[in-house]
């Protein structure tokens, strides 16, 4: 699938400010607003928080993939954020999370959602890609690393 469309330089932040899981999620949703496809920011945040309540999307090695479904978005939207110092995200390995990939897609329409998450995070399995991402100095560099 085309990963380039949802993830753009506008929806990438290399220096997230939040110090808690909730703050990071709110900041990421703000990034999504930049895509221009969000009708109700609060509803989007609520969908993502609901999903987090069921089980944290904090995986291993600093990766977190918060996501949710709501009809407050017109199409699949995605954002990537980096918090070098890391935040306690309730990750599987108990380590702080520092690379966040957020995806939100419409609830009542079919289309890739988990597939997007899986494909965009596949390169993150590679430790050298993670290291390069954390050292990236521009959103373009991040896009190049993940999408080519």
């Amino acid at each position: 699938m085309n990963l380039k469309k949802p993830l753009t330089v506008e929806t990438i932040c290399l220096d997230l400010k939040g110090a808690t899981k909730e703050a990071i999620l709110a900041e990421m949703v703000e990034l999504l607003v930049a895509s221009g496809h969000i009708r109700d920011r609060d509803a989007v945040l609520k969908a993502v928080l609901e999903r987090e309540k069921r089980m944290s999307t904090g995986m291993q090695n600093g990766i977190a993939i918060p996501h949710g479904k709501t009809d407050s978005v017109d199409c699949l939207v995605a954002a990537l954020g980096i918090k070098r110092a890391g935040v306690d995200f309730g990750a599987l390995d108990g380590q702080p999370s520092n690379i966040f990939v957020m995806t939100v897609s419409p609830d009542s329409r079919t289309g890739p959602h988990i597939q997007f998450l899986a494909e965009i995070s596949r390169p993150l399995n590679d430790a050298s890609v993670r290291a390069k991402l954390l050292a990236a100095t521009s959103p373009d560099e991040v896009l190049h690393l993940l999408i080519g």
């Binding site: 069921r54 079919t110 289309g111 959602h113 988990i114 597939q115 995070s121």
Partner: protein
């Protein structure tokens, strides 16, 4: 003697009831494919056996049709409609682009099987004096009948033996798609050529021209279908209702079937092309689901009607040739599919498994034989041989395939190649089969929501193929177990999809536990059921 329409209704009722019961018992008692039961029921109740029996009040149930035809024109038309629906659905289940990319071994095995089967089938007719030359209709039909594999039967065995994800299993499934497509092209050419022959145009150039025309129609119609499919699906979606969409799609399939017959090809080719064109749209599941009920009624009637056409007296003198033809049909797939497999990294064990997995012939062989019989290109003797071969290969295929896996020896020449195949199976065990089936349904729904094509391989087993472009999964459930197999590249996607559905399941269970309202709901439902003191029906 009953009026035609009453007799037709009786015939249809008897066929539906007996094929269902026969198929069920054969599956249950002998663990044989249901299609065998349906064919055998047709043979037993047909005009050449019990159909001639005089019943009080209703007379003969399956008398000969006008002009001595084995079945009435009404019943034959009904079974033709069934074959069109069958091939329409078969086309719908094919995702050409995925399989073209999926497996080099699958391509080689599929092509090898079709070429060798056609050659040996045609050769059999020439060697035994049934045809004067290789291009005679008898020869061409025996070749075409021998080509098409019915992989559903093998898929069930692979699933039962948990070999769906084995290199052999993956290759058999991929090869079957090429086999289907090539089988239809062969049929298109054979029908065209045999018509030219029977019409007296026996010159080679004329026959080759017809073959080129048939091939051209196939390529042209398929290309047009694939190009216009998205526009056509948008047009269908205008009608919103899923029933309307499915009915319109099938209706157009019937129209294209009629057109292809008028163009000098078989009707099923048009139906297959319409299905194949729609297979690349997101309407596949909608149409499949809506037509499923119709298919369940029609298909057994089709197989039984084919069985009814078998004239035992005509086969008897041909029995020996029939057995040789069946043996050649078996050898042609074992060699035609097995040899290319040997060149694609498989060893002797693997090649034999692939060869026997491609053995069973089914609906396409029967449809081709039926077309040959009604068009006069082949006689009842050759038709009988075709049925015999279908019965033998359908009976032996599953047994040989299961037996070939008894020896646990790896099927690849270098078992380390398994690592190269990078297949991964995610296995989950649940306390009950109900729970596993519930989650299976959720996983199927989740993939469909992600716009994957999901289809069930066989009605007898909970085995699904899930695909989108180059991504391919096999999902199976047996007892309380669920297995999802894919390549290492798509393992993350598989794990995430299952994990999300497990979470939903858990949330639902929590919600059910925490929600006192459900308790009162249950209580309200049964309270007062036996509290009445008065007459029946009084609360």
């Amino acid at each position: 003697m009953l009026a035609t329409e009453i007799q037709f209704v009786f015939q249809l009722g008897i066929l539906i009831v007996f094929t269902r019961v026969g198929g069920y018992w054969l599956r249950r008692w002998l663990r044989l494919p249901g299609v065998l039961g349906e064919l055998i029921v047709g043979m037993l109740i047909g005009p050449y056996a019990l159909g001639q029996f005089h019943w009080p009040l209703i007379g003969k149930l399956f008398p000969f049709g006008p002009g001595g035809a084995p079945v009435s024109p009404e019943l034959y038309a009904f079974s033709t409609f069934a074959s069109i629906v069958l091939l329409f659905l078969s086309g719908l289940e094919t995702d050409l682009s995925t399989f073209l990319r999926y497996s080099v071994a699958g391509t080689a095995v599929g092509i090898g099987g079709v070429v060798v089967s056609f050659f040996l089938g045609t050769g059999c007719a020439v060697w035994f004096g049934l045809a004067d030359h290789w291009l005679a209709p008898h020869a061409l039909f025996l070749g075409a009948i021998a080509t098409a594999t019915s992989v559903g039967i093998s898929a069930r065995i692979l699933s039962e033996r948990r070999k769906m994800d084995s290199p052999e299993g993956v290759t058999i499934l991929a090869a079957a798609v090429f086999d289907d497509v090539l089988g239809i092209i062969v049929l298109a050419i054979v029908v065209g050529m045999s018509r030219a022959e029977t019409e007296g145009g026996v010159s080679w150039s004329h026959i080759l021209l017809i073959a080129a025309k048939a091939f051209g129609f196939w390529i042209g119609a398929t290309a047009a279908g694939l190009l216009l499919a998205r526009r056509f699906s948008r047009l269908l979606k205008y009608f919103k209702s899923t029933q309307a969409i499915a009915a319109l799609a099938l209706g157009c399939g019937l129209l294209l079937a009629g057109l292809s017959e008028m163009a000098g090809l078989a009707m099923i080719i048009g139906a297959y092309i319409m299905g194949l064109s729609l297979s690349r749209t997101d309407l596949v599941q909608v149409i499949q689901k809506e037509i499923e009920g119709l298919q369940n009624i029609l298909v057994p009637v089709f197989f039984a009607t084919m069985g009814m056409l078998v004239n035992f007296a005509a086969i008897r003198p041909m029995l020996q040739i029939g057995l040789v033809y069946s043996a050649l049909a078996i050898a042609s797939k074992v060699l035609g599919c097995g040899l290319p497999a040997l060149f694609c990294g498989f060893n002797r064990h693997g090649a034999v498994r692939i060869g026997v997995g491609m053995l069973p012939r089914g609906e396409v062989a029967l449809i081709v034989a039926g077309i040959g019989l009604t068009s006069g290109a082949i006689g009842q003797d050759i038709f009988g041989i075709a049925i015999l071969m279908t019965l033998i290969t359908t009976l032996l295929g599953p047994m040989l395939l299961a037996g070939s896996f008894e020896n646990p020896a790896p099927g690849l020449r270098h078992p380390d190649d398994l690592a190269k195949a990078h297949n991964r199976t995610i296995e989950l065990s649940f306390p009950s089969s109900d729970m596993a089936e519930f989650l299976l349904g959720r996983i199927v729904r989740a993939f469909r929501q992600e716009e994957f094509y999901v289809y069930r391989l066989s009605p007898d087993a909970l085995t699904y193929q899930i695909r989108k472009d180059e991504i391919f999964f096999t999902l199976e459930s047996e007892g309380g177990d669920i297995r999802l197999t894919t390549t290492v590249q798509y393992e993350t996607l598989a794990r995430l999809v299952i994990a999300e559905e497990m979470l939903s399941l858990r949330s639902m269970l929590h919600l059910a536990q925490d929600n006192g309202h459900l308790d009162t709901m249950e209580h309200d439902l049964v309270a007062g059921l036996f509290g009445g003191n008065g007459e029946e029906g009084e609360p």
